[in-house]
């Protein structure tokens, strides 16, 4: 799984490619942790992400909580059908900002 990062002032854009699952979520978490200092707005672009399991949801939830703690925002974009269904089943669609 690949994460491309774009930092613009207090805005961080993360472009995910591949799968966010049990195997890759730890790497994703470390990678995000490295860049999150001083960030107020995060956009997670899921255009190239094909798969999310509960391990991936854990990472997304932890980023949402961090943004809530600093009064910032997390937005998720370009979510495919399968991942959108996962978000709906788990209530994440109500809890996250998805565009």
């Amino acid at each position: 799984m690949n994460i491309e990062k774009i930092i613009n002032g207090t805005e961080l854009t993360l472009i995910f490619e591949g799968r966010l699952d049990t195997n890759t979520s730890k790497q994703a978490e470390e990678s995000i942790k490295d860049s999150i200092e001083g960030i107020q707005n995060i956009t997670m672009d899921f255009g190239k992400l094909v798969y999310v399991s509960s391990a991936g949801l854990r990472v997304i939830l932890s980023v949402q909580k961090k943004m809530n703690a600093v009064g910032g925002e997390l937005v998720i974009t370009n979510v495919n059908d399968v991942i959108m269904e996962v978000f709906e089943i788990t209530g994440f669609s109500d809890m996250l900002t998805i565009k």
């Binding site: 699952d21 049990t22 094909v50 798969y51 999310v52 509960s54 939830l61 089943i89």
Partner: protein, 133 residues
Amino acid sequence: MVKFIVPAEIEQLDKVLSFIDGMLDKSECSVKSKLQIDVAVEEIFVNIASYAYGNQKGNAEIEYQLNDNSAVITFTDSGEKYNPLERDEPDVTLSADEREIGGLGILMVRKSMDDIKYSYENGKNILTIYKSI
């Protein structure tokens, strides 16, 4: 019917998914169903690997069958007796700050599979998922 036996360890997850994907490809499964089944298999296998045997080692048996255009996948382990379907569903209406992750895996399995059954026989936990492909 094809059976795959692996040590119940998280490191085996890729092998399990490769096995299942191979079976699904032979059965000409749709991309969407395959992704949904992958999520279900991952959630179930990771739970067995994490909890069934505690600090001991043990195996997990994964059986694949195709019945009338439905994939039938059975997970068997000889670990601690546990029915994941008895667990309360997590409250999905809570806000991000109140949410926990526990129970999400099995919730995803229940909602995306056509059917799911559990039984305990001869000291083994047997969990079967059904998904039309």
